[in-house]
Every structure is written in C-alpha cells, then in structure tokens.
C-alpha cells in the first residue's frame, strides 16, 4: 500500500491523493486533479501497479461537474409499483453482451427477463462501433480480452449460420513499404501467435499483392515489402447481430422490457433477490450486469464497488456508397508515423478506415476520454481525427452521417466477467469495450459456464430447455435479391413492391415485417437499424414521414406519439388541421 502511494505520488506530485486498498486489490482513489485527462491518467497508472486488480476512481476536478444519474426518484417510482415480475434470471442491458447472454442461457429451463433503459436493443456502444470482428492480434497476451477475442472470432461463423446475419470474412492486412519496419511487423506477428490468432501469416511483398489486389490498383504494389495477413478478420453490422440474438432469444422464451431503468439492486444476506426498476420490483435469483457505461453504477447498487467506467468517446463518419473502398481487405499501411502513434497512445488509438458489410466506407472511431457517460456529441476536432486516420484522399463532402458512441472502459482495460465475490448471484459482464463485439460469443459461453457452475454448487443444477431452437432466419431483404427474385417476392407479397427508402431500396414489406418481429422496434431509429430505411444518403429526408406513418398505423399510436429514438424524442409536436391527430391515421 505504501509502495503504491509512493509511486503514484511521485508520478503525480501536484495531486493530494488519498488511497484505500481492499483485500481483493481494489484501489479507491480520491483527491483533486487539474483536468479530466489527468483523472483518467492517474486511474490508468494506478491500475498498472502490482497488487492492484482494479481501480475505483473518485478523483474529481474542481469546477467540472461530472453528471451523475439521480436514481432516487426512479427508485421510489419502482417501489411504489410493487413486485411486477418474478424471474430466475434478470439481465440488465440489451446491448450485444446482454442479448448474447440471454440467447445462450435460453437453452436452459430458466425464466429470463432482459431490461433495457432505452427503447431498443443495441442503442449504446453496440451500435456505434466499426463492426470489425477483430482477429485478436491487437490485444495484450494473457488478458481476458485476448483470449475471448480469439475464441469469439472463431465462434462467429457458427453464430452467423444459426442466426442468419451477414458476416464477411474479409481478412485484414498490415503491410510495410520499408524493410526498416520489419521489426514492427514481426512484433505484431509474435503477439498474434501468442494470442493464438487463427491463420496469421507473415508474407512477402508478392504474396501480399496477390492477397490484396487493391495494392496494385493504387500503385503501391511495387513498394510493398511484406505484410502480416490475418484471414480471420470479419465484418458485421453490429445492430443486425444484436437484433438476431434478441429475436432468437425471444423465440426461445426470453422476455424484453424496454424503457425500464434499474434504480437499485435488492439483496438479502449478501445474495441478490431482485431489482427495483422504473417498471416496478423484479424478483430474480440471478442478476447479470450488462449495463455498458452504467455497469459500475449497477455493480455498486449490488454492493460490489470494484471498478469505475470512464467513458471513451468514439466519433465515426459514414461515407456515401458511391465512394468505393480502395482495398478489398481491411488494410493498414504500417509506417513510422503509425508505429509512433500506437506507441504514444497506450490504450486505444481508435480505428482507421474500413467499410461496412453494405460497402459504405466507415472512418474512425476516434478516442477521447470524457466525463459524461451520455455525451454523444461530435466535434470538428474529433471528426478530423476519425477522418485523418485513414486515407488522406477521402473527401469530407462524401460524408453522409457523423455519430458517436462511448466505450465502457474500466481502468484495468480488460473485461470483467465474474460472479461477484461479495454479492451472491450477481454476475458482472462489465467493461466490455473493443473487442467486445468480436468476443461476444465467447463472453456468452463464459457467462453460461458461470451460471451453470453456480447452479450446480447450489445443489439445483440447470436443466436443458428441450424446445430450444438455435436457428433464426432473417426476413427477405429486397435490395440483395436478383430482379427475378424481387419480382417473385412482390407477386407473393405485394408489400415488397412499394419502395419506402429510395436511397437504400427498402420496401414497405421489410418495414412491416420488422414492426411485427419478435422484438419489435418502437421508434424511427429502431426501424432504421433493422431495415436500413433512412440510413442512406438523404438520411430519411424522403422516407421519414412514411416510416412514421407505418409505425403509427401498426402500433396504433398517434403521429405525435412516434419518436425518433425513444421517450421524449417525438418528431411531431401537434396537428395543424382538423382530422389529423387520430390514432393510426393522419
């Protein structure tokens, strides 16, 4: 303890630090810093010290208000409503982790409920990342991240088959054009081998050019000296994966409650008994915390304050499809500059240029430590960072959408997946930042193991759900069909003959199918994530009124009740003529 204090005090002499270390190695920091970046820097430094497992960071900056959610009123509201459900398993958060865990555990005879504070699945970090299914070469060997990333990447092929989402194994390549950089390549390769990355190879210039025709096209081919080839790199639309997981979970009996915030966790004699939510009290034998950026608050509610989430914002720009990707694989030109950059930034440097399975170029994300978990604003500086890490020839006028997501990072910068040693029945699936999407199938398996073992220990081993069906089929996507198939589809179901979103060629049939799906979307953005309506170059300028109309009609809502992205984000305020304003109709 003394050693920890000395080291930290020496590194940050200007801060008066007060420290507390518990038996588990959880170090609690308090004191005053000059700015937020310093708060984060101290936390990171402390987490690296021997004997420290993780950091609870209470450092503050005088004058800087860190917004905190006031759970008090939400809690009283829930308590007033009384017990509204009694389940075996309560999952908090419907991001990729929550939905993956729900789907995995649905194979047992368990009553499972997923509660989500927003109006849909995949609304947090899950929707705002680059969709890369990383091979696992970038993670520090020996970390949980490294192991679950490689394992998760491998399991994705099966997921894609069972759940019928698009997975493109595009492969990735880091190439050099100067032999001086061989050591950098070799370093990366050794780490990849250590992590057990599938199929990783060091290849010479000629082989690299053969693997990536884009090198020839852009005239770099003669200069390429060598490359690290990672065939297991994949691409997905992260919300598509999450929707598929949620739908399959729902098909297998899992329930989803949206707009339901957890305000407290109830325990008796150190064991969870339920949660107070805005919908009421939910009794539960086991609670799994998949709450993303809010996971530290949930864990604290359960009496296990063992980490702090420091949100790291990533800004992403999506370009018009007319802008074609330069490379067929995900390629990174390793230069002295990029090597220096990755040495300077100890955690994530963010992403570079890649593309989505629908072939939009995606720039970013950037990486900025911020105090406010719900700050998803973008700025010119962050955009410049996101744009600058790719190809310098990319033109800003090709941007069709800029958005941001917050990575739920803790100070150990590793995943926390464990049964709480303090509170029985409480499982943390926390600090799941990159490569959380790639690791998701392995995360789900690991949680399954924890739940199964806990049940066995308690003397009531889990029984398999005999009706579990791992297969989910996607609905027809008009744009991916041949003209002949499109014709056949319209003949079978005329709703597919009306195009609602011109830019992405999304039909009325697809939107109606989405609204009637097992985990129905309730807002215009939720429709967008399921069907791509509004995701194209006009950003819903033409189709938003039509999508709104379909939502109102199908859900029996007034037009003024339809939201862009959940409670409080109503698109229309009031009717301006008689006759308008009826439920389901104009």
């Amino acid at each position: 303890m003394k050693k920890i204090k000395n080291t930290l005090q020496k590194a940050f002499p200007e801060i008066e630090l007060s420290l507390q270390l518990d038996g588990r190695g959880i170090l609690t920091l308090a004191g005053e810093c000059t700015d937020w970046q310093q708060v984060v820097a101290v936390g990171h430094r402390a987490a690296k010290l021997p004997g420290v497992k993780n950091v609870v960071n209470e450092l503050r900056v005088p004058g800087l208000a860190v917004p905190e959610k006031d759970y008090g009123p939400l809690r009283s509201r829930g308590l007033k409503r009384g017990v509204v459900a009694d389940v075996d398993l309560l999952i908090i958060g419907a991001g990729i982790s929550g939905c993956a865990v729900a789907r995995e555990l649905a194979k047992y005879r368990l009553d499972i409920l997923v509660v989500e504070m927003t109006d849909d699945v995949a609304t947090g970090a899950t929707k705002a990342n680059n969709g890369n299914i990383h091979p696992g070469q970038a993670e520090k060997p020996g970390t949980l991240k490294a192991r679950l990333n490689v394992e998760g990447n491998r399991l994705y092929s099966r997921w894609a088959k069972e759940l019928d989402f698009t997975l493109q194994r595009c492969g990735a390549m880091g190439f050099i054009t100067s032999t001086l950089l061989w050591p950098a390549l070799l370093h990366g390769y050794r780490r990849a081998v250590k992590n057990g990355v599938d199929g990783v190879q060091l290849v010479g210039g000629r082989k690299a050019v053969a693997l990536e025709p884009g090198l020839e096209r852009c005239g770099l081919a003669p200069q390429v000296k060598g490359a690290m080839w990672l065939p297991s790199m994949g691409l997905v639309e992260p919300y598509q994966v999450t929707v598929a997981l949620a739908e399959n979970a729902a098909d297998n009996g899992v329930r989803f409650w949206f707009n339901c915030t957890v305000a407290d966790i109830l325990t008796e004699k150190g064991i969870v008994t339920g949660a107070v939510t805005t919908e009421g009290i939910i009794r539960a034998r086991t609670i799994i915390n998949c709450a993303g950026v809010h996971a530290d608050e949930i864990s604290a509610m359960a009496g296990d304050r063992c980490f702090t989430i420091h949100p790291r914002k990533g800004v992403i720009a999506i370009l018009d499809k007319a802008q074609k990707p330069k490379f067929d694989r995900l390629c990174e030109h390793i230069t002295l500059k990029t090597v220096k950059q990755s040495l300077q930034k100890s955690h994530t440097k963010g992403g570079g240029m890649c593309y989505t399975p629908e072939k939009n170029i995606l720039m970013g994300p950037s990486a900025l430590e911020i105090p406010d978990k719900e700050d998803l604003s973008t700025s010119a500086e962050e955009l410049a960072y996101a744009m600058g890490r790719g190809d310098e020839t990319i033109d800003y006028s090709k941007i069709i959408r800029i958005f941001a997501g917050n990575r739920p990072a803790d100070y150990s910068e590793d995943f926390i997946i464990e049964m709480s040693p303090v509170t029985g029945g409480f499982i943390n699936v926390s600090a799941i930042q990159s490569p959380g999407l790639a690791a998701a199938p392995a995360i789900a398996k690991r949680v399954e193991q924890i739940v199964v073992e806990a049940a066995a220990e308690s003397g009531a081993p889990l029984e398999k759900n005999p009706r579990w069906n791992p297969i989910r089929r996607r609905k027809p996507e008009f744009r991916h069909l041949s003209r002949r198939e499109q014709d056949a589809l319209i003949q079978r179901d005329p709703r597919y003959g009306r195009i609602i979103c011109r830019c992405e060629t999304v039909t009325e049939g697809e939107i109606l199918e989405a609204i009637r799906s097992p985990v129905p979307p309730a807002s215009v953005d939720a429709i967008k994530r399921r069907t791509r309506a509004g995701m194209g170059r006009c950003q819903g300028g033409f189709c938003q009124p039509r999508v709104l109309e379909l939502l109102a009609k199908e859900r029996g809502e007034r037009w003024t009740e339809v939201t862009l992205k959940g409670e409080g984000s109503n698109i229309l305020l009031r009717p301006n003529r008689p006759g308008a304003g009826k439920r389901g109709a104009r």
Binding site: I499, R537, Q539, L572, A580
Partner: protein, 418 residues
C-alpha cells in the same frame, strides 16, 4: 417479370417529367410512359402551397400544386400512360429500365429513348458538418414543408433556419403563418441565397432577422433540440472563435442546398459535370449516352419551375428527333465555356448545327450591371444588358449558336472587353 416495349420512358412525374411527356406526345411520340415513384403526379410541387409559380410561363401567380395540376390535367387529356407508386431501380446504357410497383411486380422496360427527370434531394446536417448532438427536431426544409403542408403536423414551435435560399425563406414565412416562432435565418455566405422577392415577402414582411456570414455549428439537446450554437464565419467559411452564441429553439430547419439525384444516371454510365452535379448535356439536353436525356433539377438545380418545365420540353423535342433518326449536327461536340463571372453554363457542349439554343447559367458574384454575351470563337452572337445580377437568379437566353468554333458565355462589365 413483365416486359414492356416503348419509344420513350420519362422517369419522374414532377414539373420536368410532366412537361417532357406532354411535349413529346404533342410532337408525335407514340409509345410514351411516365413513371412516378409517388402516389400522385406533380413531384415536390404538391407540397409547395405558396404562390409565385408560373409567372414567366403563364403570366400568373399560381401555387405549386395549381401549376402542377395544369400539366396533370393535360397529361390526362392527352391520354399519356402513367404508372404511379412505381420506383425505378435501375437504368442501363442500352436504355433498359427496371421498375417495380405493388400491382405488377418487377417491370423490365425496353425503351428507344429515356428522359431522366428524377429531381434532387436536400443536403443534410452531417453533410454540412453540423456537430453536437443528434436529437429529434433537426429536419431539412423539404421535410418540414411536407409535414406541415401535406401531413398536417407541426414538427416544432420555435425554429431556427440555416440557409437563405428560396426554400429556407419560404419556410420561414410558412412556419410563421402556422404559429411557429422563427428565431432567425442564418446564412454562411456574405450574400443572401434566395430571390429578392422572397427576401422581402418572406422575411422583411414578417420581421424575421437574416444573419449573413453566420452559420450553425452545433445542435444541443439529447432527445429534442433545445438550442443551437451559431457563429460568424471568416472569408474561408470557418467559424470565428469567440463569436459563438446559443439560440434557443426546438427545431432546426436545414435549407443548405440541393443535390441532383443522379444515382441511376451514374450507374448507367452517364458522364457527369462536377459543377452542376448533373449530366453533361448538349443543346437537346441529351447526355453522353445517345438517346438518354435529362431535364429539370436532375440536370441542374433551377430556381424557377418555369425553367424546369422549359428544360423538359427541350429534352422532349430532342428525344422526338432522336426517335425519328434525326441526329442534328456532327459527331464531335464543341465545348461551351463559362467565361467572365459565370459559374456554369448548361448545355455544356453543342453540335455544329445546333441552331437556336437555350442557355442556362449562373453568375459567380453579384453585379449591378453587366453585358450577358455569347461568342462562337471570336464572333459575338448574343449581347444583352442585364441588371442586378446575383448567383441565386439563374439567367437564360436563346441564340443561334451554329458554327464550328467553341462557345463562350460571359458577363462582361460595361466598357471592358473580354
């Protein structure tokens, strides 16, 4: 898959497509088909319930829907084949059109000639790099117009408008009349973007302030818009630090420019002009693919519907000639150059025997008086004194431009030669 064979297919039933189909029929084209993606003809005119349409063409002040109805009635009278609620998915260089609708499924249409009249779309918040949050209440002017005029709903109560083009100005007045309080119109350029008559009738008459050289840099509010940050810009159009201020509002209306919708044209291999965002056109508004013509805002963004209709008629006449196997002139085009104070000219190239040709152009910068001049080589073929020139007002003139040499169109200051 249903197959159709036609002489002329017009893609888009807005003002350009309506005028084109009518003119083609009038000039004797037989198998003409008009395709419209919406459930009614008229295009965006249907939501333009303000007046000022048709002043040049009909010498009357009509509303957009009235103007459209004149053409729609005529289309019905002339018994022109129309398919509504029909979306064109693809056109090919050999003039095959794939379109679909609910009732017929996929249509494979073989046509001898095509007129592209798909119009344009609006630029969005991300495209003009507005940062901050992304709440409900950020809409393009066209979307707001649709909600208010067609659907019967108000998307806000306190609005800020970015962009002083005609659409922004019209919406400032429209929203005021609907009881919204319009906080101001902000324009990044040092000069207003709309027609003078709209500045007077839509802003001055209602006391709505116009802030030039000022832009919206950020949106605030996580669920619905609560405010926007505005800032003055320097000559390079970058926000000037220290000039930022917040304006409270619950609606940000974007009238920040129109983009011709040429995705179908590009996919077919039609050659584009980066200055207009539309295809490279000749005097008949024919594109680089023989038999494929373009008209209206897909060709170049016009400001008056009268000109849009006119362009449709030019394309139709060209298409009818093409169908009759009467290719004018020779195989090699002469370029049309944008000279002094001209940002672009349409058509961009001419046949030798082009004859009487209608030109459309915009000036680069405002000018009190200048001579609109056209030359073939050194020979002046047109000259007219024009007053109060500004980029928002498209200029047009007609001249016999036949000849062998290149064309130059310029706005020459009085007393100065080219």
């Amino acid at each position: 898959m249903k197959r159709l064979d036609l002489d002329l297919v017009v893609i888009g039933g807005g003002p350009a497509g309506l005028a084109a189909a009518l003119k083609a029929k009038e000039l004797g084209a037989e198998k003409v088909l008009l395709l419209e993606r919406n459930t009614e003809l008229g295009g965006i005119l249907q939501q333009c319930i303000h007046d000022g349409f048709g002043i040049h063409r009909f010498n009357k002040r009509l509303s957009g829907n009235q103007y459209a109805q004149l053409f729609i009635d005529e289309v019905e009278r002339m018994d022109i084949a129309v398919k509504l609620d029909t979306m064109v998915l693809e056109i090919t260089a050999d003039k095959k059109v794939y379109a679909c609708n609910k009732h017929e499924g996929m249509l494979e249409i073989n046509s001898k000639a095509l007129i592209l009249a798909m119009g344009c779309r609006e630029r969005t918040a991300s495209q003009v790099l507005i940062h901050g949050e992304r709440p409900a209440g950020v809409l393009t002017a066209g979307a707001v117009q649709r909600y208010i005029n067609m659907e019967g709903y108000l998307p806000g109560s306190k609005a800020v408008i970015l962009g002083s083009g005609d659409i922004g100005l019209i919406m400032a007045r429209r929203m005021t009349l609907e009881g919204l309080s319009v906080q101001g119109v902000y324009e990044v350029m040092p000069d207003p973007g709309g027609l003078t008559r709209n500045l007077v009738q839509c802003l001055d008459d209602f006391g709505i302030p116009l802030h030039l050289s000022t832009t919206v840099t950020a949106v605030h509010g996580r669920k619905r818009v609560e405010a926007v940050t505005v800032a003055q810009v320097n000559e390079a159009m970058s926000p000037v630090a220290g000039t930022e201020r917040q304006v409270e509002c619950d609606l940000l209306v974007l009238a920040v420019g129109l983009i011709p919708e040429n995705e179908l044209s590009r996919a077919a291999g039609v050659e584009m002009d980066p200055r207009t965002g539309g295809p490279l056109l000749d005097e008949n508004f024919m594109t680089s693919i023989p038999g494929i013509f373009a008209a209206g805002n897909v060709a170049v963004v016009f400001d008056l519907v009268d000109h849009v209709s006119q362009s449709g008629e030019i394309a139709a006449a060209g298409a009818v000639d093409y169908l009759a196997g009467k290719p004018k002139g020779v195989e090699s085009y002469r370029p049309v150059r944008a000279g002094e104070n001209v940002s672009f000219v349409v058509p961009q190239r001419l046949n030798r025997e082009c004859g009487l040709t209608t030109f459309f152009l915009r000036v680069k910068k405002p000018e009190k008086v200048a001579a609109l001049s056209c030359y073939t080589g050194q020979k002046q073929i047109f000259k007219k004194r024009r007053r109060y020139l500004a980029p928002p007002e498209m200029l047009t003139f007609t001249a016999n431009a036949s000849g062998a040499k290149g064309i130059t169109v310029a706005l020459e200051k009085e007393a100065s030669r080219r």
